[in-house]
């Protein structure tokens, strides 16, 4: 390997090793050096303790881990013959707080990572303002905390429902805060009303926008990111939610997806020990995340972008930024339809009766997050976590590169390759856990 680049500001660090011809990237390997042993520390503990521990896998998507854990425990209950009853209310509150966590993630990624990095590629006039991202994210987590108590690291989802018991007071407070956040998004980020943005059907509609999103779109074209960073043009969505559809996609053609076919193996990096893993569906690598979700959800604008520019950096980045709008709208709907008269929690049978395996799958900000556990009388015997970043950011051999590796090959130089790498929204802590 020729050149090593240390990538930071990604929830930890990663090393990229590049082979180059002239400046051009001919091959790249990825190493995530840090390992923390989260799965092992759960063994021997009561399964409900996992509700407190797994959110600590990741400071930016702990809620997704919480939901994956609770779904896995509930799946184990079902397998043991004691299906857990979940009210509609508990389901919507869980989904609402998950969606708010995704929103804060996307704001941070856009303002703290992508705009500053795009400027480094020589795009003028972006005027990145990282603290805007922090402000918007804090607004989102404030709404989340009204139901979940705090963010980061809440543990308010439990088998059978949620611990909170919100009244119309919290619902109205939340709606007010959400309207404020939408107002910020419209004025600062989008430069156009949420409804108008959501009705966009073509990338041309970004042309007149004098906003962060408009400047981002132009900057991506100016750096030719619409011609770069293609991966496999194969996608997978596994979590079941109201904002997307479980599917496996070849280009934009959807097919059934079966989580049983997901497998993992250690990632390959010849120059450094990496604690990452490669994840495949069947025998193949697939890309996961907002681009996959938007195509699966048949989002007109993103499909238009995909028709023109395939699975380029442009489409990938715009899909993530645009998903913020989709999720803001979804949060609004969830909140408006929240039926508070149902119970928050229906107690299941005691956990001690459960000896079974369970799998919980959630769409986290970066894609499907899977938790698998085996319980013996309610105690964790085995725990396995597969994170979205492992799908995208694995590191494999030249004949079968992982999506990010494939996307980086052909980049004009290292600066461009690292931007392509970041277009996947890298999270080092999740990749290794």
């Amino acid at each position: 390997m020729m050149t090593r680049a240390l990538i930071e500001h990604i929830e930890g660090e990663a090393s990229l090793y590049f082979d180059t011809r002239g400046e051009k990237i001919t091959w790249a390997e990825i190493a995530f050096p840090h390992f923390r042993g989260m799965e092992r520390m759960l063994e021997g503990r009561k399964a409900t303790d996992a509700l407190v521990i797994t959110p600590r896998v990741c400071g930016i998507c702990g809620h997704a881990h919480l939901m994956a854990t609770v779904r896995a425990i509930e799946a184990a209950y079902a397998q043991a013959g004691y299906p857990v009853v979940l009210t509609r209310k508990a389901r919507s509150i869980r989904e609402l707080t998950l969606v708010l966590e995704m929103i804060q993630n996307h704001f941070k990624w856009l303002y703290l990572v992508i705009l500053p990095e795009l400027e480094k590629l020589g795009v003028g006039g972006l005027s990145p303002a990282p603290l805007k991202g922090a402000y918007a994210a804090a607004q989102a987590t404030k709404i989340l905390a009204l139901f979940a108590g705090q963010w980061p690291h809440s543990s308010y989802m439990i088998p059978g429902g949620v611990t909170c018991d919100p009244t119309h007071l919290e619902r109205i407070q939340a709606a007010g805060l959400l309207d404020e956040l939408i107002g910020f998004f419209e004025k600062e980020t989008a430069g156009v009303g949420l409804d108008a943005l959501l009705s966009f059907a073509s990338c041309r509609e970004f042309n007149p926008l004098q906003s962060d999103l408009g400047r981002l779109e132009k900057g991506l074209i100016a750096t030719e990111m619409h011609k770069k960073g293609m991966a496999y043009d194969r996608f997978v969505v596994l979590g079941e939610h109201g904002f997307t559809v479980r599917a496996r996609l070849k280009h934009t053609r959807p097919m059934k997806a079966d989580p049983c076919l997901v497998s993992t193996e250690p990632a390959v990096c010849r120059d450094e020990t990496s604690h990452a893993r490669n994840v495949r569906y069947g025998k193949h690598f697939y890309e996961v995340g907002p681009l996959a979700r938007s195509i699966s959800a048949d989002t007109a604008l993103i499909k238009n972008m995909h028709r023109r520019y395939k699975d380029s950096v442009y489409t990938r980045v715009m899909a993530r930024a645009y998903e913020t709008a989709v999720l803001l709208q979804h949060a609004k709907t969830l909140l408006a339809e929240l039926e508070l008269s149902e119970p928050s929690y229906v107690p299941p049978v005691p956990l001690e009766r459960i000896s079974a395996t369970g799998e919980g799958i959630v769409e986290a900000p970066r894609g499907p997050l899977m938790h698998r556990m085996r319980l013996e009388r309610g105690i964790v015997a085995e725990y396995k976590i597969i994170t979205p970043t492992q799908w995208n950011l694995g590191s494999s051999v030249m004949s079968d590169p992982a999506p990010a590796q494939k996307a980086m090959v052909g980049a004009a130089d290292i600066a461009e390759a690292t931007f392509i790498f970041r277009s996947f929204d890298v999270c080092s802590v999740c990749t290794t856990h």
Partner: protein, 297 residues
């Protein structure tokens, strides 16, 4: 007080962490004003003037070192061990802030690798960390994660040159003198020993059966609310005692009891007196505390 023009330099380093403290800090409402009081040389997420590789060269110290995550001496950042990085920057700095329970006591990641990981000055409650000799410099802001307002408080005091008094575990008394129980909306139920019958209700206290550590945990979560709006107990989740050196304990959603009396009683209360009081309090039947509090459903 120092002049307004003097900007202390700040470096934020990470050990074994989930980045939760970094993300918690981003929720601070006056983050821009706070950052304006410092010259941020390095932060893992926020704009800063140096790269991690530059920091790892250990050429120039800083006034304030913020450390997040557990200390694993052999872990490397940009190819340099934490042992070296922490020793170098702690030597120079006037203040070292252990942000979160991992940096304070080892926390979750000490539980994951007890033989290797510790906090900066403490391993659990034992003064046994690499900065033990500099314990006077180390301010422990325990919590999993650290509350943004607690970090804001410590950093603002430093910027203003004000001393910070700490308790026996190095935690600022202004923040950790209270119990998490203090300000909890369920206190009336606690007093009259009315248990929450089940999760998902705003009525009842979570101490008797549901594992709440509020009366045993030094933290001001219910005085300075999380995200400005809430706390675990406000949404019916027990306090897990995340600011204490023994976090994470086991069976976090349950209270260990002895003949239906909690095995551990509130800090500073004698067990005998507590038992007597419980007996008396329980003999009252207070109708108001047996009814639901809202008519929303």
């Amino acid at each position: 007080m120092r002049s307004r023009l003097f900007k202390p330099t700040l470096i934020w380093l990470q050990g074994v962490t989930c980045n939760g403290n970094t993300h918690s800090f981003l929720n601070l409402p006056y983050l821009p004003q706070l950052l304006a009081r410092f010259e941020v040389l390095y932060h893992p997420l926020l704009p800063c003037s140096q790269s991690l590789e530059e920091i790892a060269r250990c050429r120039r110290g800083c006034d304030v070192l913020v450390f997040e995550g557990a200390f694993d001496p052999m872990m490397e950042r940009a190819g340099v061990t934490l042992e070296r990085l922490v020793a170098y920057y702690a030597e120079e700095a006037g203040h070292v802030i252990a942000a979160g329970s991992c940096a304070s006591f080892g926390g979750i990641f000490k539980a994951a690798a007890p033989e290797r990981n510790s906090g900066l000055a403490y391993a659990g409650e034992h003064p046994d960390g690499p900065l033990l000799g500099k314990a006077g410099k180390v301010i422990n802001l325990s919590g999993c994660p650290v509350h943004p307002e607690w970090l804001g408080f410590a950093l603002m005091n430093i910027a203003e040159g004000r001393p910070i008094s700490v308790d026996a575990l190095g935690r600022p008394t202004a923040l950790y003198r209270h119990m998490a129980h203090d300000g909890c909306l369920r206190n009336e139920y606690f007093e009259w020993k009315v248990d929450a019958e089940q999760f998902g209700r705003k009525e009842g206290c979570l101490f008797y059966e549901h594992g709440c550590r509020g009366p045993l945990t030094h933290a001001s979560c219910n005085r300075t609310l999380w995200n400005g709006v809430s706390s675990k107990m406000r949404v019916g989740t027990p306090c897990f005692g995340c600011t204490e050196p023994d976090f994470p304990r086991r069976n976090l959603f349950e209270t260990k009891t002895n003949m239906s009396i909690p095995e551990e009683v509130p800090v500073g209360v004698s067990k005998r007196a507590y038992l007597t009081m419980t007996g008396i309090a329980k003999s009252f039947k207070i109708k108001r505390l047996e009814e639901r509090l809202t008519d929303d459903d």
